[in-house]
């Protein structure tokens, strides 16, 4: 995961405040994803992007929005954080030049706590 960074790595915020998480890649992969990880649920897809300014919803997209203005950056925004959004958030990428779209490579994660 050396080519994928997430910031911040840890954040504590209060209910009702906006929060933005950033994913940055240096691998020039076409696709980028945001997941959340909760005990007993594995990872669940929030949103993904298939190109600059092209995004789509995943299975748990309510309460989240995303933006991708550059190939290397994918932002996840919680417009008004709730306690149910306390989780670990992972960014992933796929679709390297010359490869397949199947394998996804994950960042180190961001631990978000909403109090």
């Amino acid at each position: 995961d050396a080519g994928i960074t997430q910031s911040p790595r840890h954040k504590v915020t209060e209910t009702g405040t906006p929060v933005t998480l950033r994913c940055h890649q240096t691998e020039n992969h076409r696709y980028m994803y945001w997941y959340r990880q909760d005990p007993g649920h594995g990872l669940r897809l929030i949103h993904y992007s298939y190109g600059v300014k092209d995004t789509d919803k995943g299975e748990v997209s309510d309460g989240y929005s995303v933006s991708r203005s550059k190939t290397e950056d994918f932002l996840l925004t919680l417009e008004s954080a709730t306690s149910s959004q306390t989780s670990v958030y992972f960014c992933a990428i796929s679709g390297r030049v010359g490869g397949t779209n199947y394998e996804q490579y994950f960042g180190p994660g961001t631990r978000l706590t909403v109090t």
């Binding site: 995961d1 994928i4 696709y31 994803y33 007993g40 649920h41 594995g42 990872l43 669940r44 897809l45 993904y48 298939y50 789509d56 995943g58 992972f90 992933a92 796929s94 397949t100 779209n101 199947y102 394998e103 996804q104 490579y105 994950f106 960042g107 180190p108 994660g109």
Partner: protein
């Protein structure tokens, strides 16, 4: 709908003994299947993948998995466990509907390795 079931939430083995982590999938078509590993406070790392080629798939760190269509299984094995194998393991399927980019994760199996 496609789904993945990891049959054990926790597995405990002694160092040097075989490892078996069980995964069953549900799919109307021949799926693509993966195993990922997550060490504590780390992102997910791809262990191995099955994409309709050989049914016995070899991965990193001595792990392998066998795709058995008749049993709808994709169990992960390793002949001899090492202390560094202690981690959480996720079985993953790519659904046919909804786009090939969307992975469906099992709930995970936590592997403990004792001296």
């Amino acid at each position: 709908a496609q789904s993945v079931t990891q049959l054990d939430s926790h597995v405990s083995v002694s160092e040097g003994t075989p490892v078996l982590l069980r995964c069953n999938y549900s799919s109307s078509y021949s799926p693509s299947l993966f195993w990922y590993v997550q060490h504590p406070n780390k992102g997910l790392q791809l262990l191995l993948k099955y994409t309709s080629a050989a049914t016995l798939v070899k991965g990193i760190n001595g792990f392998e998995a066998e795709f058995k269509k008749s049993e709808t299984s994709f169990h992960l094995t390793k002949p001899s466990a090492h202390m560094s194998d202690a981690a959480e393991y996720f079985c993953v399927v790519i659904p046919i509907s909804g786009g090939y980019n969307k992975l469906i994760f099992g709930a995970g199996t936590r592997l403990a390795v004792h001296p």
